[in-house]
Amino acid sequence: MDVSQKGTILYRGVRRMTSEKLAEMEAAIATPTAGITATLVPFFGSALAGDEIVSTLGLDLGRSLLVGLDYEWHRPVEPDETLTIEVSIADVYSKATADFAVVATEARDHDGKPVQRQVSTFMERKPS
């Protein structure tokens, strides 16, 4: 893992949370309350920049795992609203047997107000 990448912005873009996209998440959850839950977790921020995470950090997917996931909600996503989403490397650090990358995703509405924040922690085992 390239531990020098702290602060790198991996993705910044505008995404419309279409009813169709929310329905896809609802279908994956497939419970009576899935429609509500889909508005809380309509996307996985790190997946929006998945290729960039791998290439920027030099991750070996065979030695990497997601080990932490944090959410902070200001409100649910509204169907068909447009969000500005930024994914960045919040921290990178190394321990004896593994390296860790903390990837933060910030989603804001058209007024710039925060909607939700996701933080993913990836661990890459060092080669033995």
Binding site: K21, E24, M25, A27, A28, I29, A30, T31, P32, T33, A34, I36, T37, L40, V41, F43, F44, S46, A47, L48, G50, L61, G62, L65, L66, V67, G68, L69, D70, Y71, E72, W73, S120
Partner: protein, 113 residues
């Protein structure tokens, strides 16, 4: 405030994993490519960690609980067709996601405001 109850989650199926991959665009081969997963020491593909957490969040929603914050530490992979359950701890704001015969796959802390 609604007290968090221990509940069973719906089983994570291969179809569900595929749908989650499509919904998120996360096609990491460990989730969708059986030979890749097996070549890296796994018995099969595994569920996305966020999918497991999403199902746990859904169980909170079903109980009328809307957390302001949630922090999950993923401890073990979840395999297709494993039955998962929520096992609350005594403080009311922490629970474990447990698979099958008692394997803790995640510990979760929630904050309500």
């Amino acid at each position: 405030m609604t007290t968090l109850a221990g509940v069973q989650l719906p089983p994570i199926t291969r179809v569900g994993i595929a749908r989650y991959a499509g919904a998120t665009g996360d096609f990491n081969p460990v989730h969708v490519d059986e030979p890749f997963a097996r070549s890296h020491g796994l018995p099969s593909v595994i569920a996305h960690g966020p999918f497991t957490v999403t199902l746990a969040i859904d169980s909170l929603v079903a109980q009328g609980i809307r957390p302001r914050r949630l922090s999950a530490r993923l401890k073990a992979p979840v395999f297709p067709d494993q039955r998962l359950s929520i096992s609350p701890t005594d403080d009311g704001n922490t629970f474990q996601i447990v698979a099958g015969e008692g394997v803790v796959v995640a510990t979760v802390q929630i904050t309500l405001e």
